[in-house]
């Protein structure tokens, strides 16, 4: 199972904090996962195309070509604004 978390503006846009799902067959990278989630409906499509969206795998920010094997924690979030 792949564990997916959403934060801040993105969490509100998709209406959930986290979910778990078996790695879909079409998904080999984090970009594939973003595209897969974006196909759910119009709200998801808009949310997953949010400008500056970042992705972390196992709590480290990664490039959009990062491969997935199916047992990771993946998080999508907007640019950070702490401090």
């Amino acid at each position: 199972m792949i564990r997916i978390k959403y934060f801040a503006r993105l969490r509100e846009a998709v209406g959930q904090r986290e979910e778990s799902l078996p790695l879909p067959e079409s998904v080999a990278t984090v970009t594939d996962l973003r595209d897969f989630l974006g196909r759910r409906d119009e709200a998801w499509q808009q949310a997953m195309q949010m400008g500056g969206l970042l992705v972390a795998v196992n709590q480290t920010v990664v490039d959009w070509n990062q491969p997935l094997s199916g047992d990771e924690e993946v998080a999508f979030f907007p640019p950070v604004t702490g401090g």
């Binding site: 978390k5 500056g52 998080a75 401090g83």
Partner: protein
């Protein structure tokens, strides 16, 4: 040491802890970030700080270790508050001790610049008209990028 907490912190207490039991220390630099009551022309009445538990601690530990690779500092202390905050509240503390001021100043500024652009915190502002997520600033990205030159 890294703390993510709702509670406020005491500058004096943190300073004393950095100073304690280390006669090789010749300099302590501290930075405290406060909540402003204005942003983009609006009065801000409050703030809510969200974060990514687990990754927040991990990313701050990574930033500390990068600072240590660059400068020979002694101790590093980071506190970041989360949850609801009011104008003038303390939000963030970075304290660095070292043998000399140069490395302590540089490491403290580096840590803040990297924290602002890499640590997974998000601010939501409460104004009279409602609440809104704060947008990331290009000036923060520029500040972090100058350390890569």
């Amino acid at each position: 040491m890294i703390s993510i907490q709702q509670a406020d912190f005491s500058l004096q207490q943190e300073y004393e802890a950095l100073r304690a039991d280390c006669p090789t220390i010749g300099a302590i630099v501290t930075f405290t970030g406060l909540m402003r009551d204005f942003n983009q022309g609006d009065d801000i009445q409050g703030l809510f700080l969200e974060h990514y538990p687990g990754m927040t601690e991990k990313s701050l530990a990574d930033i500390c270790s990068q600072a240590r690779d660059r400068w020979p500092v002694e101790q590093i202390r980071i506190i970041h508050r989360i949850g609801e905050l009011r104008p003038s509240d303390q939000i963030v503390f970075v304290g660095v001790s070292g043998q000399h001021r140069g490395e302590a100043f540089a490491a403290c500024e580096f840590i803040m610049d990297y924290l602002k652009t890499r640590a997974p915190f998000w601010k939501r502002e409460i104004t009279r008209e409602g609440s809104r997520w704060v947008d990331a600033r290009d000036s923060d990205t520029d500040a972090a990028e100058r350390w890569q030159k």
